[in-house]
Amino acid sequence: MRIQELSAEWFRGAADTITLSTDNKSVVVYGPNGAGKSTFVDGLEYLLCSGKIAHLGHEYSGRRLENAIINTHCPAGASRRFTVKLDGGFEVAAELAANGAARFLGNDALEGWGKGWSILRQDEVSAFVHSSKGDKYSALLPLLGLEPIENVAANLRSISNRVREEAGLERLRAQLRQLTQEWETAFPGVATASVGGLIKDLHRKYLPEQEVPPTLPETLAALRSSISERIAGLDAEGACHFHLKVAHEADLRSRLSEAAAASDQAAKLAEPLLEERLAILRSAAMFGGKLTDEGLIHCPACGREIDASEFKEHVSLEATRLEGALKAFESRRLAFGRLASALVTAIGALSRKEVAIWRLAPEQEVVFKNLEALLSFDAECLREGAAAPELERLGGNLHPLAAHLEQCVKAVPPSVEQVVTDQKMVNAAASHATRRACASKITMVEDLLAFLGQVEAEVRAEIRQRTEVLIDSISTDLRRMWLLLHPDEAIDEVRLYQPDGNKAIDIALRFHGKNQLSPRLTLSEGHRNSLGLCIFFALAKKGGQNFPLVLDDVVTSFDREHRSFVADLLMQEFPDTQILLLTHDHDWYVELKRRLPGNRWMTKTLLPWSDPATGIRWDGKPHGLGASRVLVEVDTMAAANRARAVMDVEMAVIADRLAIPVPFIRGARNDLRGALDLVQRFRSRAQSRFKKRNTKGNYEGLSDPADLAKAAEDWLVTYGNAGSHGRVLTNLEVGRLIDACDAFLSAFECASCKTTVWHATDTGRTHLRCDCGEIRWNL
């Protein structure tokens, strides 16, 4: 994919339509600070990210960025728009309403073009290097193509949590514990397999004349009926003893004691937990921003400051502690449940009419009073727990009653005691099926959870495996690019790697022979920026080879040597990728102009931005003299200086293209030749080498360029030098200088095809020419 044209209209710094046409080539755009270069980058990001521009998203820009993306002086009714034309005839546009609401047209054509590995801005160069392991992973996620797999893992986790809730796993476990305890009380030390025999024995005891039924449920039903009959047949005293014994067996004092102990234990854990919960709320908001690899961080579990290196262990300990607290609450719930059941059983037994004779006896007045008080308790509410004062009040009534009951049951005859024991066995045996069903359901849910957990672990393994392959591949490109930018330096073996744990990626390198697990340990700021640029290029190579690369002032922190290597890297690594390179660095612009091949690259210059209504403007001439003209009205000396600087740059490029030889000068001056020197050398060769095709199709000498060079040389000597040395110049004088330079530089452009004399690429080594062949330069 290649960009043919970018157009902005009242978008960011643009006023009336400003268009960057690329002719399908890569483009270097030079403009001083604030000239409007980034408007093109912003517009592209706006289209790629469906109306979002990361660096403009803040509290003052408005929900739709309307305060930032629309030119402040946009007239009412004017069109606000950003358009990109692509090869293949595709056009994508965003049309903006005054309130920032955008209508996107044709943006299907941008499918697959990710901003992350396509656009790099000055302030983002080292962002990847400085980001946390998790952020690095998140940044690479779309490139790694792992988002679908991450979705699967996250969805599996959600389903597991939901299964746990939906099946009521904790409730089932509590129920099973209670049933098991009742079983163990009824059949202490008896193997489950022997219980059937005991029940058969009971059947023979209560129903000696009947055959034992073939199934356990039938046997239990017969036994229940028989025991009920036996109880109903007891005389008044025996019935009273029976129910007193049942009430006593409920063991109210033990149950109350258990509930109180469990409550105390839970309370001990709950109090600090509540405080910590508040700390969690306070620190959770800060957590995301604080999670770095170094220094102290606020733990979201306890709120304390923990050293990052100890964080994992700390979280694990906190998790264990919280799990312990949860278990304590579960024990408390169970204990209160058992207390409530015991109370229901005891009160039920003591409230029966058969016990009235005991309950209403004159000497039992205290018992009666306590029993009445217990009846006022809502046993079902007790299952949810009770506060300490309520438990104390319960104990005040329960203890005297239980103590008295203990004395009374000593008079219960063994035959009645046996009936109570037998009934308990029958009831426990009858609950066996429920207990088994409960255990079976728990096993079923746990198996499902184990499976889902294992599948999730497998999915994570898949992610890790794929990440490994991809980052290995990226690392190979990264190492090669790093060596291009930093040949012969003692920093090498740069690579991405996966630290322990999921969702993390980091950068390792070797520094003077020592392995380093982070570039932040040893690299300078400049090297980190350079590394960031290499990583961006490596990612771009992996993810966006088919899409244009946009680089907005990315070498600001590079020295001249390394800037130069960036140009090498671009030409070597991205020969077929269209690149939009924006810079405010004039020296680099000159270098790029000189070095980048004209058949694949073009250069453009923006005029300084003056006001919102004027907006962004191209320098009308490709060589930058337009900026000098803008300065004439403001500062004639600066305008003259600027014109001379442009000529220095342009002549260096022209001399290079036309292969004009210059004698060697010892020292640095060899690389710093001025425009005057080069113009003079051009003049001496122009007459014999600069040709124009005549009407018969033959090439003949062309005198105009040499004459124009002479005029430019004269005015450069007169006014260019004067401007450089502080002499005040008039507007007219500077105008002559600029006109002469402009005319001379224009001589290299064909009047017919508008391309330069060195533009054509298929001329062999004998000459250069424009596209149509109207003008040529013999080598």
């Binding site: 679908p148 797999i149 979705n151 699967v152 996250a154 969805n155 599996l156 959600s158 389903i159 939901r162 299964v163 939906e166 099946a167 079976s440 359901k441 079923m444 849910v445 198996d447 499902l448 184990a450 499976f451 889902l452 957990g453 294992q454 599948v455 672990a457 497998e458 999915v459 393994a461 898949e462």
Partner: protein, 84 residues
């Protein structure tokens, strides 16, 4: 084709759920991973198939709580039907 229906259920064309046979497993990473998981944690084949099919349908996004609930009920429903 296996996919997640709009109400969160799993829809599969007939004959496409032979994930437990080696032949069907090799081509798709989800099949491979589910089979690996089955080697460690055991569930009935119908459940594994349902989880497998759901995984294929859940790659494009995080599911809503409604969809999670429906899938949960579906998996538990299969298990309960086997253990009434």
């Amino acid at each position: 084709m296996l996919s997640l229906t709009c109400d969160g259920g799993v829809m599969a064309d007939e004959g496409e759920l032979d994930l437990l046979t080696k032949e069907a497993v090799e081509g798709n990473w989800i099949d491979v991973r589910v089979r690996e998981a089955l080697g460690v944690a055991t569930v009935p084949e119908e459940v594994a198939k349902a989880v497998n099919a759901a995984m294929r349908g859940m790659q494009d996004r995080r599911l809503s709580s409604g969809e999670i609930a429906r899938l949960t009920k579906e998996f538990l429903g299969i298990l309960e039907a086997r253990n009434p």
